[in-house]
Symmetry: none
Subunit: 420 residues, 2 copies
Amino acid sequence: MNAEIINIGDELLIGQVINTNAAWMAAQLNLSGFRVYQVTVISDSRGHIMQALADAEERAEVVLVSGGIGPTKDDLTKQTLCEFFNTRLVFNQEAYGDVEALFARRGYAVTELNRQQAELPENCTGIPNKVGTARGMWFEKDRPGGGKTVFVSMPGVPFEMKAMMTDYVIPRLKQMYTTPFIYHKTLLTQGIGESFLAAEIEEWENSLPSNIKLAYLPQPGIVRLRLTGEGPGEILLHRQVDAEMSKLVALIPEYYFGYDEDTLEMIVGKLLAENHATLATAESCTGGTIAQMITGIPGSSAYFKGSVVAYSNEIKEHILGVSAENLEKFGAVSKQVVTEMAVSLQAKFRVDYAIATSGIAGPDGGTPGKPVGTTLIAIASPGEVFAMQFLFGDSRERNIRRTALQALNMLRKKLIDICS
Amino acid sequence: MNAEIINIGDELLIGQVINTNAAWMAAQLNLSGFRVYQVTVISDSRGHIMQALADAEERAEVVLVSGGIGPTKDDLTKQTLCEFFNTRLVFNQEAYGDVEALFARRGYAVTELNRQQAELPENCTGIPNKVGTARGMWFEKDRPGGGKTVFVSMPGVPFEMKAMMTDYVIPRLKQMYTTPFIYHKTLLTQGIGESFLAAEIEEWENSLPSNIKLAYLPQPGIVRLRLTGEGPGEILLHRQVDAEMSKLVALIPEYYFGYDEDTLEMIVGKLLAENHATLATAESCTGGTIAQMITGIPGSSAYFKGSVVAYSNEIKEHILGVSAENLEKFGAVSKQVVTEMAVSLQAKFRVDYAIATSGIAGPDGGTPGKPVGTTLIAIASPGEVFAMQFLFGDSRERNIRRTALQALNMLRKKLIDICS
């Protein structure tokens, strides 16, 4: 069953607003077994709306439109809808009653603009708006070959659109159509690039059943692998996708760290909390990024004690207690110093685990022996410490991000006893 | 001059990824005098790509495509481009050399997949990719009525696409087309909400000449005010917009902190560097966010010595040296404690300036006397310290962000001697 999304709004076309509506609407449709064939963003003008509706009608059975309605811009879109559906605007007493009630609750007077909002095309069903003044509109139009196309027009304000979708549009669509089950599951990996990952799992990928597709979704430092399955039975489909996911996990045990909306800082936090263990970080090149990521998680104060960002050798020596001799002999970006940072912080902060980072984030500071991107990470755990060296890239921002993710993954593996 | 954007990617159509590329690309085109007529999001399939390219060609002179190329998905899109432009793939030695050089710098071996990436349609110009392996492609196709349509294919990875747009696509488009002069200048403000700002500057806004438009661009903690002028002469237009900007600045001297791509951390960094002064941060509720923002700036090690993230009272007491008595008597979220944090850190880290934060970021930890959002910020400067209390909102993420921005702006005002 094909669906399309049309987002109306000049603010989207000048790049002032990011189109978050499309992603949310698409996710909802997808979860309900509708495939989104196309998203089209258009301007709030008669000709463009007419064209986009006609084009979408040719390709899809369900067309969801957001934007172009609301107190200050109602007119044009509704007139255009009337033209497209060959109907006229009529005053809708029920819609007007809703606006009156909403305004009474907020203590506002109803304006003439709001009165106009209660006019709806004659052949649509009005969709109640519990959180705003613009009603949604549900149209059904005969298809040339038989059957009907559903068109739904909703406000562009995200929370108004979301409430309508959840309370009305999705339930009614599900009643109307029998859709296949679609199941997505995404595996998260860290520490391996897209092309290397592809080589590792090529054989498994080629053996996937035809109703399951794999997608690579790379981000700096992280590659997500999404499996999408489609099938007639929900339980069987879940089992089938989960079985493929298990095979995938077995191929890359050292790289995968979670599923779907998981983050490394969330998983590390859960593991620490479960183990009643505490953590602190000693950060040079990451400059507080790891602490910032960890403390972004609600409740992190239960396991995270704090951090020393040691951005100068003076702080490494006087606050962390790194030996001046090691700093002099090996330099700040060395296995010796990063190890000392971790161990010293672990003692000073009286924590079970400590992460230490030191590196050359760039753009300056590289040398032939230690080019930009050179990074050392140490993990101190009870009675033990280890350090690893990496060579990341040229971008300061991405070097910092990759170092933070790599460090969190090293700690995660330590916490669940996977050798790195 | 009409442009269109086509974003290829199943991840966009299932709603897994929000289409931030479209907004960014649209903004860049707009700034260069191109009007974006439509954004179309399509699947990575031959028929759909062919159709979208043909449709866009009818409406626009410039068609920018992102997505569908990269190590694991190159094939189909490039084959389809060959079909659309009636050409074939040929091995491009220059493109291959770039990949080899990139991998050599990172110490990786080139894979067969990467080799295939060096194949490009014969009639395109390859666009260098400084930060990834997939080249962009620039095509020109004759229009039926004369003239040419430009098609550009770029990777979907945002930072790769952005680098190509900035370094190659926009400059070349500007060379090719004469567009009206459009001049944007954006003023950055901190510490005042959108509706309050609107009330402060209403009279000035109403008096703007008709060729200059104002847009409010709010973000958590920051409101950007963008003036967009359009006119036939560049010099005159700049003078006109700059004059309006000066009037605006005079209306809100305590809130504005910079222009365009400036950030508070960048401006604070410059002021510190100019004054040969040093900074450190003692962060509780911000959890390292201020340190992370400051150290994101290249060269920040010249003025930033480091930070103590004191996420527990134990660290506040034992590492920072806050008195147990004050912690007990006033609590960690108090003027007394945050002042002590700043002063103590200033002494321990031997810096000229110190920022300290303490607050209840939420969602838990609020009390009737100190609800979620309660935040204290202290700034210690040579021979002086002051602290201020704020009540932000309910969102943990936004509370952290707003605290960090507010603290940086307090320090900025201190550094240039504006009373806060």
